[in-house]
Structures are given as structure tokens and as C-alpha cells.
């Protein structure tokens, strides 16, 4: 079967569209968190730039 399932219609479309929107927002939030984490990790680095 080449389709994603049998019949398609409004209910399943709304359900899957919500899942996609949530996953998109989730991805953006995770990316933001990782950027913030990286930013603060850089600031708190135990090795000063002129340590040598």
C-alpha cells in the first residue's frame, strides 16, 4: 500500500497537523535551549583564554 493508511479526511488531517505543529515548536524550543546552554557553558569555561 503506497498510501499512509486507508481513507484520508478532515479529522485525521487535523490530528496529524497538530502533531506536526507541536513537533516543529518542540524542535525550535530544544534548539533554543541548546543554544542558551552552549552560551552559558562558554561563559563559565574553567580555562581562561590566556592560561598559557
Amino acid at each position: 500500500m503506497a498510501m499512509s493508511g486507508p481513507q484520508i479526511g478532515g479529522f485525521s488531517l487535523i490530528f496529524h497537523a497538530i502533531i506536526l505543529i507541536v513537533s516543529y515548536i518542540n524542535g525550535k524550543i530544544l534548539r533554543l535551549i541548546s543554544l542558551i546552554t552552549r552560551f552559558f557553558q562558554k561563559k563559565k569555561s574553567p580555562f581562561p583564554p590566556n592560561s598559557k
Binding site: M1, A2, M3, S4, G5, P6, Q7, I8, G9, G10, F11, S12, L13, F15, H16, A17, I19, L20, S23
Partner: protein, 359 residues
């Protein structure tokens, strides 16, 4: 041909495919060498075997045993699970795009824990007439929205036999099951039930497939697909196992049955319109379906594919949707409520050129 740093086998199961096999094998040869291409023939009586031998020496002819039987036999006979990292299955009427492997295999490469079991490509129709243009619309919604969301939820309902790459070790553990009309869906459900649910959908990995071009073949194909769906619902005891797959399939099944009822409601609502010249309340679900689902998604597909002729086909498309709904209801009785397990995997092939596939 793509320069490959990994071992991938391509298996094409065939059964009287002389009209389409040359174009299909030509498109596959742009992805892999002939030595990695395997044609497993399920008792063809036409020139399929001779034509296949022009492309590869790995052509195996076995007595008719059905698609699942042919695939299982071919994998075992050529010992593919030991020789290859990945196995791609390609139907004889389906042609992969040039970048199919590039876009799909990157998921395996970035998956160091080997959690991903399979990559599903996007199926596109070729739109040669109004019936196959209708199928293009269905593919667009069903892949770009449904399957993409299913991939996120790890609840992909069917790994299509025409566009899926598996890690080869899966076939050390499992074989394609027999006994239902949709062996790819049966296999997918079996993997879910065995705890293997991590499949990824890749929209850029495109294959172009043939679709029915007349109503008789269209009805026949839908009867096979839908009856197979209900057989699998019953066989895999949906919705009683509590997996995401169960939720997904229940939503799709209810949706299909609702669509069938919608057709009946519409016909019923026409009676007061004819008798009293009044719009019946029964027609409201139909109006919602038409204006809030069908028309917006059709316009989206038209803009996306830039095929503006499709708007003129909207009435035919909606009638075809009605027909599909009634077939779904009929399949519910034959596939779910009865024990009918007729076996037929041959679908009608057409001798027309796949222009898009060569792009």
C-alpha cells in the same frame, strides 16, 4: 550512478512485468551497480526474466508463491543479510529519483546507535489522467502530513513495498508474512508488535509509481488495499495492545467509516432537497468535509505541483472520494468481519513513460 561507501542491495519482485521492468531497472541502475540489483521473479510467463537479465545476472525465477514468498526466498537464496548493510525494496512499476539514496541513507549514517530500522520515501504518482491525478492529491496529503506526523510519533502504519530501505539484519529476525492482501502493512504491524517502531519518513527521497488509470483497476486496487487493511487490524488485534500504532490505526479506521457514512448522509439529504426544495441538516457534515477539508487540500496540492488543470477535475475527484468511501465500507465487511483471505498481489501495469522519474 551514486558513489556508495556502504553496501546496499536493491530487490525487485516481479510477476509479468514486461511493460514496465526496463524503465524501472534503468532508473535503479542510476543508483547501484548491476551486481547489487536482484530481481526475484514469481512465475512470470512473459519476457520479464529475459529483459531483467539485460541489467543484472541476479535474476531468480521461482514457482508462483506470492510477493511475500518471493521476497523471503530471494533474501535467503542470495544471503543478502550477510552481504549487505541495507536492503531497498522497489516494486516493478516504481522508479526512484536520482537522489533517493542520498536523502534516505543520511538518516542511517547519523544514527550511530542503529536505532532506526527503516527509511520510508515519498511516493508520487505520475498524473497521466484524472484518476491518477486524484491519487496524486491523496499521496500529497497522506505523505506530507499523515506520514510525516506518523514518523514523529513512531507510528508509521505502512512501510510501502515500493519505497522502503531496511537495515538488513531485520531479515535475520523476521520474514514477510503471508495471509493478508497487503504484505507490506502486515510486515509493518509485525515490526511494531515486536518492538521495532523507529522508522523515519524522508520527504525528499522520492519514488514515482504507476497508479490505476481506469475505474475497474482503481476499484480492484482499493479493494485489495482496504481489505488488507481490515485483515491486518484483525490479525494484529488493534486496538488492544496500547501502542501508538493502535491509536493511529483507530483514527484512520474511524475516519474511513465516517467518510462512508458521509456518503450515505449526503444521498439521504438529497431527498428533502428534491421533494421540498429545502436543504437538509444531514448535508452539513458534507459541506464541512467539502469546504474545510477537500477544497483547501486540493488547492494546496494544485499550487504545490503547479498542475492547475486539477481544479477543473474537482467534481470528479469528489465523486471518486465517494466511491473510495463505499469501497472502504464494503472492505470492512469482507476484511474485518469475515475470514476471507483471498490471495492476489498482481496489479495491472501500464505501458506509459514515466517522464517525471527521469528528471
Amino acid at each position: 550512478m551514486t558513489n556508495l561507501s556502504y553496501k546496499i542491495a536493491v530487490i525487485v519482485p516481479t510477476s509479468n512485468e514486461e511493460d514496465v521492468i526496463v524503465e524501472t531497472l534503468q532508473s535503479i541502475m542510476k543508483l547501484v551497480n548491476g551486481k547489487d540489483l536482484y530481481v526475484i521473479d514469481d512465475g512470470s510467463k512473459d519476457k520479464t526474466i529475459q529483459l531483467s537479465k539485460l541489467f543484472t545476472s541476479n535474476v531468480l525465477s521461482i514457482p508462483h508463491s506470492g510477493k511475500a514468498g518471493a521476497l523471503n526466498f530471494g533474501i535467503k537464496y542470495y544471503n543478502l543479510t550477510k552481504k549487505y548493510d541495507y536492503i531497498l525494496f522497489m516494486d516493478a512499476d516504481t522508479q526512484p529519483s536520482r537522489n533517493f539514496l542520498k536523502f534516505s541513507l543520511r538518516h542511517f549514517r547519523s544514527d550511530s546507535n542503529k536505532d532506526i530500522i527503516g527509511i520510508v520515501g515519498r511516493v508520487k504518482g505520475q498524473g497521466v489522467n484524472w484518476i491518477s491525478k486524484y491519487r496524486q492529491w491523496e499521496y500529497q496529503i497522506s505523505h506530507l502530513i499523515h506520514k510525516r506526523a506518523q514518523s514523529y510519533l513512531k507510528s508509521i502504519v505502512v512501510l510501502p513495498g515500493c519505497a522502503t530501505i531496511y537495515r538488513s539484519y531485520i531479515f535475520d529476525k523476521f520474514r514477510f508474512p503471508k495471509g493478508t492482501l497487503t504484505e507490506d502493512m502486515d510486515f509493518t504491524f509485525m515490526l511494531h508488535r515486536s518492538g521495532y517502531s523507529n522508522f523515519v519518513f524522508e520527504a525528499k527521497a522520492i519514488v514515482y509509481t504507476q497508479d490505476p488509470v481506469n475505474l475497474k483497476d482503481y476499484i480492484r486496487q482499493l479493494l485489495r488495499w482496504y481489505t488488507g487493511f481490515w485483515q491486518n487490524v484483525r490479525k494484529h488485534e488493534i486496538p488492544w495492545k496500547g501502542q501508538m500504532l493502535d491509536l493511529e490505526v483507530v483514527i484512520l479506521a474511524i475516519e474511513g467509516l465516517y467518510n462512508s457514512l458521509l456518503v450515505i448522509l449526503l444521498v439521504t439529504s438529497l431527498i428533502p432537497i428534491v421533494i421540498n426544495n429545502q436543504i437538509s441538516i444531514l448535508g452539513i457534515p458534507f459541506l464541512i468535509d467539502f469546504f474545510l477539508f477537500f477544497l483547501p487540500t486540493l488547492i494546496w496540492s494544485i499550487i504545490s505541483d503547479r498542475d492547475y488543470s486539477r481544479i477543473l477535475l474537482a467534481p470528479q475527484f469528489y465523486l471518486l472520494r465517494f466511491l473510495s468511501s463505499l469501497i472502504f465500507l464494503r472492505s470492512f465487511f469482507s476484511g474485518f468481519l469475515s475470514l476471507e483471505m483471498a490471495y492476489m498481489w498482481n496489479t495491472k501495469r501500464y505501458r506509459y513513460s514515466a517522464k517525471e522519474a527521469t528528471q
